[in-house]
Amino acid sequence: MAKITFITSDNETITVEGTSGSVMELAVQHGIHGIDGDCGGVCSCATCHVHVAQEHMHKTGAANEIERDMLELDDDADEYSRLACQLQLDEALDNIVLRVAK
């Protein structure tokens, strides 16, 4: 079980819980504004872009190479960027805060 907090681009804070699947799937199930998950989680659409809170970066680790390539051309991307479909829900992510990218 992991509690995930999303801060949307209109500054709404929503905390939801999930046990399995990806963070993108959890967000889509709960209708988190700004996370569309168009490609279903195969890393081809970048509609699941989030910024991990700086102090929580150790919980997720950095983006993998394919993710980095996807994000490279996104003007809004920074070193805290991840694609939510590449984050698997598990205990390690408990209480993490993610800001939904614009």
Binding site: C39, V42, L73
Partner: protein
């Protein structure tokens, strides 16, 4: 080689140089072949514009057969975003349960029709009607209208053996003019009316702008969807085990759709016009010349995709560009993904076996490269479960 296979004609050029050349009418094209370069070029709209003379970024060029600018496709940022935001929500409607249900009924009906026939020519008797009927949902207009579009045949812009055909294109243009005229007299809940009622930069969209969106909606999703559906049927005919797998593991259908789109790359490439002397993959390109973003080659880039020439139905990391990339990525992708998901699910549930009887491949002539993109015709028989 299996009949359903789509070879990768770009391989050696992609590995050795990263680009290819083709002569399109009298306006040649430098084709960008590697995934990273394709993405970079797609992203850099200042150096590689979409806002050129209408029809010029399309390959083969359509400058001689149309003046109407396709919107938002032939517009650069920031205007591109202004147009796109008007229609973006409308094109997400396929995710609504009611839409999904109607689409599902249409697709089940057409599979049942195919099962009832002894043999069926897939392009004209399956894929074309499927695409046309589904389009009535996207436009939100009566189902019967599909009959008119089916009557046009698979190519609106082409006659048999001719690259471009102005008289055929005019059928579509006159048709859209008429529909827009009707909608302005008598507004309803259809896409035509929605467009005519939309505002951009604080003013109403003009009829010409609305037409530009409609031309794109008709043209952009026609042979691409027909290729995706037809190629899928050919693939499952030769890979019954894959159909079986979708039956047993319906949860992988979403991934399977992405993978089939990567492998088929229903649209081979899309052009841009170069605005200043620059380069693509260390090759000089001159201002006012054309480049193309070759999605089909990028989708087989072996430096990114393991076993790039194989269909791996549940491929987990699949950063393909089958729906384009960047701000111009395909507007109809939501509709197409939904359609393909429902199609695969029902095909797996209802069909035991498909046998290919006869076929004619559709080979695109890109000078240096010849690419099979699908079929001109393919006859098969369906066997029910």
């Amino acid at each position: 080689m299996k009949k359903s296979e789509l070879a990768d004609p770009f391989k050696s050029a992609r590995q050795e140089k990263g680009y290819g050349k083709m002569n399109d009418q009298i306006d040649p094209v430098t084709m960008v072949l590697r995934l990273k370069d394709v993405r970079k070029t797609a992203h850099d709209w200042k150096k590689f514009t979409s806002g050129a003379v209408p029809g010029r970024i399309v390959v083969p060029s359509e400058v001689n057969i149309r003046d109407t600018r396709q919107i938002p496709f032939e517009v650069d940022p920031p205007m591109h975003g202004a147009y796109r935001s008007i229609i973006e929500r409308w094109f997400k409607r396929p995710l609504e349960p009611e839409y999904e249900e109607k689409l599902s009924q249409q697709i089940q009906a057409i599979i049942n029709e195919a099962l009832a026939k002894e043999t069926i020519e897939v392009v004209s008797e399956f894929s074309l009607p499927l695409q046309s009927r589904a389009l009535t949902l996207l436009l939100n207009i009566p189902y019967e209208e599909a009959e008119t579009w089916i009557g046009w045949g698979t190519h609106v812009f082409r006659s048999e053996g001719v690259a471009l055909d102005a008289s055929k294109a005019n059928i579509l243009y006159e048709y859209i003019d008429r529909q827009l005229e009707k909608a302005s007299q008598n507004p309803g809940d259809d896409l035509y009316s929605v467009l005519l009622n939309s505002e951009v930069e604080g003013r109403k969209l003009t009829a010409e702008e609305a037409k530009g969106v409609m031309v794109l909606t008709f043209a952009g999703g026609r042979d691409t969807v027909i290729n995706a559906v037809t190629n899928s049927i050919a693939y499952f005919a030769e890979h019954p085990e894959a159909l079986q797998r979708l039956r047993n593991e319906p949860e992988i259908i979403g991934k399977a759709v992405e993978e089939l789109i990567r492998y088929f790359s229903p649209l081979t490439h899309m052009g841009r016009v170069v605005t200043e002397d620059t380069q693509v993959c260390e090759h000089a390109v001159k201002a006012d010349s054309r480049v193309s973003l070759c999605w089909a080659s990028a989708n087989r880039d072996e430096s990114v995709f393991e076993d790039a020439d194989k269909v791996v139905l549940d491929r987990k990391l699949n950063p393909h560009v089958g729906f384009g990339f960047g701000h111009h990525k395909c507007l109809g992708a939501t509709h197409t993904r939904q359609m393909m998901k429902i199609f695969l699910k029902n095909l797996a549930e209802k069909v035991e076996r498909i046998d290919i009887l006869d076929l004619k491949e559709n080979i695109e002539d890109l000078d240096e490269f010849k690419r099979k993109v699908g079929y001109d015709q393919i006859s098969v028989s369906f066997k029910a479960r």
